[in-house]
């Protein structure tokens, strides 16, 4: 949950200064050595992305090699 909360915090910072009508997608890259249970992360993100300012966003978790764990992009509707 804490990782998912950090993902949301990064996504919120990424849209700072914009006024999107909605955030539609948050893409997270997770390496196989990142120490993350992807199903758990997806579950937590699904929960957090129902809360403003997200509400209509869905998470896309991309599996990568190595220990990468980063927010790749945020898609918004302007």
């Amino acid at each position: 949950m804490s990782v998912a909360m950090e993902v949301c915090a990064i996504a919120e910072r990424a849209i700072a200064g914009r006024s999107p009508s909605c955030i539609t997608e948050v893409v997270v890259e997770v390496g196989d050595l990142a120490g993350i249970e992807i199903q758990n992360l997806e579950f937590c993100l699904d929960t957090l992305l129902r809360i403003p300012p997200f509400t209509r966003a869905h998470a896309v978790v991309r599996r990568e090699r190595g220990d990468v764990l980063r927010v790749a992009s945020v898609e918004i509707d302007e």
């Binding site: 804490s2 990064i10 996504a11 120490g35 980063r70 927010v71 992009s73 945020v74 898609e75 918004i76």
Partner: protein
Amino acid sequence: MTVTVIDVRERVMARNDEIARGVRERLERARAPAFNFISSPGAGKTLLLERTLDALNAQLRIAVVTGDCQTQNDADRLARHTDRLVQAVVTNGGCHLDARQIYTALGSIALDATDLLLIENVGNLVCPASWDLGERSKVVLFSVTEGEDKPLKYPNAFRAARIAIVTKLDLLPHLEFDLASALGHARAVNPALRFFLVSARTGEGMPAWLDFLRGEVAAARDDPT
């Protein structure tokens, strides 16, 4: 309506890791090694630290930071075993400590009068494994009441740690716990793990653990860097 994709490429742990580096630098300057104790709830972190404080207080200047979801119970318990202020971090439901909380706690600790920092993390074997607090090492505890396959169920915690402590050893005769199997599972996850087998209640195995801590403090003092 226009769909825009904002390229972010920000590491999820970037901010925490930056603060953790700052914590580590401060502790290294003070030559005070820090150990971050992680385990599932009820594995015996607090009792181990109580006994550790009782045994080493006269020899080492030990600072303690303890994290808890909702109460200061652990901090209150530990405060009875030291004259120093125990830093209590109540996470208000948060399932782990982060580096910012430790950095803030260091502000109330006289590091120049500290030989050793013990950090009791929130009871949880998942999230604390992922968060660097600036410690020298993570110490993962698991008790003989928990099942031999704990290291396989929570490999990240055992992979992130340098030290594993099997606790509640006094209960072993009353349980069908296969100690060799448990240690084997832990080694399979992290072959470099160093083990201590203890009962904080009876004192079994405690001398080796205490010697280890004394050695870590001595090594930090002698480090020419």
